[in-house]
């Protein structure tokens, strides 16, 4: 396992993604309402769009037609091309219930620095 310093923790905010380069690969960082920082691959597993240009939103859910509710704020990343939804915590596609998955990375915080562990 190798730790890679990628940014300062205070650079990572909620409802937005911070792109960082790790070698030739781009990784996106975001902060959940709980304060936890999540790291995911920037390449959409569907057709390869750069998720840096997508939007972070909540999870829209409902058990009743024409009623829209939202939970998991800032946790769902939508692809800038087709709008596919991915949970940044699990990497799972919301619609596919896990069949299409976004790659996630372990994150460690030390002395205000953010490290990706690979």
């Amino acid at each position: 396992m190798t730790r890679h310093l990628v940014c300062r923790a205070d650079q990572v905010v909620g409802n937005a993604v911070l792109p960082v380069m790790l070698g030739r690969g781009k990784i996106l960082l975001t902060r959940l309402p709980s304060g936890e920082i999540k790291a995911i691959a920037s390449r959409c597993p569907h057709q390869g769009a750069d998720l840096q240009h997508g939007c972070l939103t909540g999870h829209v859910h409902s058990d009743e037609p024409n009623v829209l509710l939202i939970d998991r704020p800032g946790q769902i990343l939508r692809c800038p091309w087709h709008g596919f939804e991915f949970d940044v915590c699990s990497g799972e596609s919301v619609a596919d219930h896990g069949k299409l998955r976004l790659r996630g990375f372990d994150v460690e915080i030390e002395n205000g620095d953010v490290f990706i562990v690979m």
Binding site: H46, V60, H61, S62, D63, E64, P65, N66, V67, L68, L69, R78, H82, G83, F84, E85, S93, V94, A95, D96, L100
Partner: protein
């Protein structure tokens, strides 16, 4: 091999046959000729008009309502185990006077129970409703559901509001309450996206598009999720379009789920679990094409054989499905898939 025929059209000889079964004031209306029944807004071009030209009485006149003829032309020669009666008198086509429509549906159901279902235990019955009066339709379903031969509710496809609209929910609730199948069948009002076209052949070729629209409406407006034990069959609406619709709707769902989060599964999963199709018109596919299509559908449990007797585009049980298909697949199409849908066991010999 056991045979279940999912689409057999019983009829009456004319609207006046319903007079004894109609509630007042509608009995008086029909008795004095206030309405003479539906007539199609086009001409049939086939030799027997809407029916096979050989569906005739002993005197040579066209037969439209004769159990004995149906027994001798269909049930006996093909050795039917069951025939699902689906009618072709759909009061939902009456665009106003909803009370009359509901009364006609009830009268027709009583007529069919006495003149058809009672004559042959091989008949499986369908409840006719007026879908424009959803609460009345639900009461009619409740009234008829206890009949031992009744297994489904007919939902006729007309030309205005698709069945995913919330107004129709009482119908689905009633059907689910009684464990009945929902059967969608076109009517003489069914249209394609640009209407009926300019010719009967055009309108007939468009019919599958109206069924696709209903499936899209039912799934995306939450009917499949809201009534989880309800099962559906598309009658006479084609089936080879299913792979396209599954792929298209899954893609749409992946990118647009946020608009319809009450839909909890991929549309293709809903279809695989809950939707079935009658085979007629079987589109004259070769055996090889059948096998490719089943592979693309992802299941051999979608298809239920049907003849559409006595209509002109009848499919012969011995000729319309290629004999070269594997025996286990033919057994599913002719018997097992329909028996599972309607919860039937093989009749005693």
């Amino acid at each position: 091999m056991l045979l279940l025929d999912a689409d057999v059209h019983e009829s009456f000889s004319g609207i006046r046959d319903l007079i004894p079964y109609l509630a007042e004031p509608y009995r008086e209306w029909i008795a004095r000729g206030a309405w003479r029944g539906f007539s199609q807004p086009f001409a049939y071009t086939s030799p027997g008009s809407g029916n096979r030209a050989d569906v005739r009485n002993a005197d040579g006149s066209a037969s439209v309502s004769d159990y004995g003829l149906m027994r001798d032309q269909l049930l006996k020669p093909y050795n039917h185990s069951y025939a699902v009666l689906t009618g072709y008198f759909y009061p939902t086509m009456l665009k106003l006077q909803y009370g009359l429509g509901s009364a006609l549906a009830a009268a027709y159901n009583d007529y069919v129970a006495e003149h058809w279902l009672a004559k042959d235990k091989r008949f499986i019955g369908s409840i006719q409703i007026n879908a424009r009066d959803p609460e009345g339709a639900a009461r009619e379903i409740d009234r008829m559901a206890a009949h031992p031969q009744i297994k489904q509710v007919m939902l006729p496809v007309v030309d205005d509001i698709a069945y995913g609209h919330p107004q129709y929910r009482p119908i689905f609730a009633a059907a689910e309450r009684h464990g009945l199948v929902i059967a969608l069948h076109h009517t003489i009002l069914a249209v394609g996206p640009f209407g009926m076209g300019l010719h009967y052949i055009e309108r007939h070729a468009l019919l599958p598009t109206s069924m696709m629209a209903e499936v899209i409406s039912l799934i995306l407006n939450g009917v499949f999720d809201g009534y989880p034990s309800l099962r559906f069959i598309i009658l006479e609406g084609g089936f080879s379009w299913l792979p396209h619709l599954m792929w298209r709707m899954d893609r749409e769902y992946r990118q647009g789920r946020v608009e319809v989060p009450w839909v909890k599964k991929l549309p293709s999963q809903h279809m695989r679990e809950r939707l079935r199709f009658s085979t007629q018109p079987a589109e004259d596919l070769s055996g090889d094409q059948w096998m490719k299509l089943i592979d693309l559908m992802g299941s051999d449990e979608y298809l239920v054989f049907s003849t559409d007797y006595p209509h002109f585009d009848f499919d012969d049980p011995e000729m319309s499905i290629p004999r070269s298909l594997p025996d286990d697949l033919k057994e599913k199409i002719f018997w097992k898939n329909g028996a599972a849908l309607y919860n039937l066991t093989a009749p005693a010999q």
